[in-house]
């Protein structure tokens, strides 16, 4: 594998007049101790679109994603600098209530992580903690979330069985339903299908496509076919840097950067 220059980048400019952004980052850097894992990434994420982050393992795409709702705060010794603009405020600042922010920028993880609670409680747990006690509202929430996550038909008769008793693919869709139940603006997804079999993967992909109308989705994926199938924009990460950002169609047909070209045509990664 050859080394590519980090200065050779192409980030497509999206016109703020014609595009509405959910999140934009400016010079976002992530440090673990003294080591800089992400080197100043500035990217726009358009509202109600799916943006895919692709790149080899260790390219910093997951780290970047996790800093968007400040999940890196929980890792000892990590530090994030730069700007993350969301609804006109920089959410990477101490003035922001990080818990309130995460209600609106949800996350689905690589490995399904349902709570050891019933399906019903998995979905209603957080809303109840935030004060929603009305049974009818919660029932409704469970049904709509599970329908949106394409799981309702399979579990509607067993809502009180443990979330852990479901199959891997079903567990992941339960986690998506749990995230949707918070009615977030943005959904961050960290390789949500990597631990799943092909059938479950395609179900999850269909789910994401259906969610696009109401949510802005940012998804990290190893799977280039997946990125090509579902995303509107794609950012290619290499060695802690976003080297190229463009419409997905262009990234996969006419990439402007050599590294991107090599990666999407399978030369490395």
């Amino acid at each position: 594998m050859q080394n590519y220059s980090l200065d050779d980048t192409y980030i497509k400019d999206l016109d703020p007049q014609t595009h509405e952004f959910a999140i934009t980052t400016k010079d976002l850097r992530v440090f673990y101790g003294d080591k800089e894992a992400v080197h100043g990434v500035s990217l726009p994420f358009e509202r109600y679109k799916i943006t895919a982050l692709i790149g080899a393992s260790g390219s910093g795409k997951s780290t970047f994603l996790r800093s968007l709702n400040r999940m890196n705060d929980n890792i000892e010794g990590s530090q994030v600098t730069g700007e993350i603009m969301y609804r006109g405020v920089d959410i990477n600042s101490d003035a922001i209530d990080v818990y309130e922010m995460r209600k609106h920028i949800g996350m689905v993880f690589q490995r399904p992580n349902p709570f050891a609670k019933s399906i019903y409680d998995n979905i209603t747990f957080a809303p109840r903690r935030f004060g929603e006690k009305r049974k009818a509202v919660l029932d409704e929430l469970v049904e709509t979330s599970l329908k949106q996550a394409a799981l309702w038909d399979q579990v509607k008769d067993n809502l009180y069985q443990s979330g852990l008793s479901l199959s891997g693919g079903q567990q992941q869709r339960l986690c998506i339903a749990r995230a949707i139940a918070m009615k977030p603006d943005v959904l961050l997804m960290d390789e949500p299908a990597s631990a799943l079999d092909p059938i479950s993967t395609s179900t999850v992909e269909d789910t994401l496509m259906a969610l696009k109308d109401q949510y802005t989705i940012i998804i990290v994926t190893h799977n280039m076919q997946q990125a090509a199938r579902i995303s509107d924009y794609t950012a290619f990460f290499y060695s802690g840097q976003a080297l190229e950002f463009d419409e997905t169609r262009k990234i996969f047909t006419r990439p402007k950067i050599k590294a991107t070209d090599d990666y999407v045509s399978g030369h490395f990664g």
Binding site: M71, R102, M107, F115
Partner: protein
């Protein structure tokens, strides 16, 4: 002798050692139960002890042991939960944490008689609680806290970090996630540790002889007002426990039937401690199965 026959010989020795240890336990239990159980009767379990004559029971001591146990667990369980949560969730990797861990380690290895003497100095004399249930419960808390705390910490760590991330990503704080997600999942381990701790507390005597005292004044089991001096619930009355009673009658007892009383009391104590152990195993397993099953 060839290496082969040495190997055979040593294997035989090891079987012998294992057998001796099993026999040792069987002998201990057998002795206590054979000597003690014939003496155990409803009358023995419920009537008060006698100082100078035969026929005394262990009723008050038995009650005291349980009351002291409940009271000390009421104090130590919340403290252990808080401290365990701190160590598992909030403690940073730095020298302060090292000092804290060392302190807990030292406390757990302190002889219980030292803990009892400290309790005597501070609770009995300084705070003027006197020889009382409360002093005893506080001494037992110090005795039990380090192991309970470590157990809580270990049990919390058994729950994967992804569970915490799940809660955090929904906008819940770490504290809410720990209290409402992680602790319920760690409950089997925590409970097992608590019950084992209870068994340890139930049999402890050295920490109590100078805190809860060595006398068991008569109680009026019709009066449950904790403020009345003869009430069983009064936390400021002296309270000799079952374990202290066994020590007391053996070291300075003048009852004619001291041997029989202590055998009976030992049998009751052993059965209680065994019950705690079995409960811990059985309850822990059951709870674990229930939580992981569909």
């Amino acid at each position: 002798m060839s290496a082969k026959s040495i190997d055979k010989l040593m294997t035989g020795m090891l079987y012998l050692i294992a057998g001796v240890i099993v026999l040792l336990l069987a002998g201990l239990l057998g002795y206590i139960l054979v000597q003690g159980l014939p003496h155990v009767s409803w009358h023995f379990l419920t009537s008060p002890a006698k100082s100078f004559e035969a026929g005394g029971g262990i009723g008050i001591q038995l009650f005291n042991s349980f009351y002291l146990l409940v009271l000390s667990m009421l104090i130590s369980v919340p403290l252990a939960l808080g401290a365990g949560i701190y160590l598992a969730e909030y403690a940073k990797k730095n020298w302060v944490t090292d000092v804290v861990r060392t302190a807990i380690e030292i406390l757990s290895s302190l002889p219980s008689v030292v803990v009892g003497l400290f309790g005597f100095l501070v609770f009995v004399l300084q705070f003027k609680f006197g020889f009382s249930i409360l002093s005893g419960a506080l001494a037992l808390t110090m005795f039990n806290l380090p192991l309970l705390t470590r157990n809580v910490e270990d049990s919390l760590r058994q729950v994967g970090f992804t569970q915490r991330e799940a809660g955090l990503a929904l906008g819940l704080s770490r504290w809410e996630t720990v209290v409402h997600v992680v602790i319920p999942e760690a409950l089997p381990g925590i409970l097992t540790g608590m019950i084992l701790g209870a068994g340890r507390v139930f049999g402890e005597a050295a920490a109590l002889i100078y805190t809860a005292g060595q006398s068991a004044p008569a109680l009026n089991f019709g009066d449950w007002n904790p403020l009345h001096i003869a009430s069983p619930l009064n936390p400021f009355r002296p309270a000799e426990t079952l374990a202290v009673h066994i020590w007391k009658i053996n070291s300075e007892g003048i009852q004619p039937d001291a041997a029989a009383v202590s055998a009976g009391a030992s049998a009751v104590l052993i059965i209680a401690v065994l019950a705690f152990n079995l409960l811990a195993r059985w309850g822990g397993n059951r709870l674990y199965k229930r939580m992981t099953a569909g």
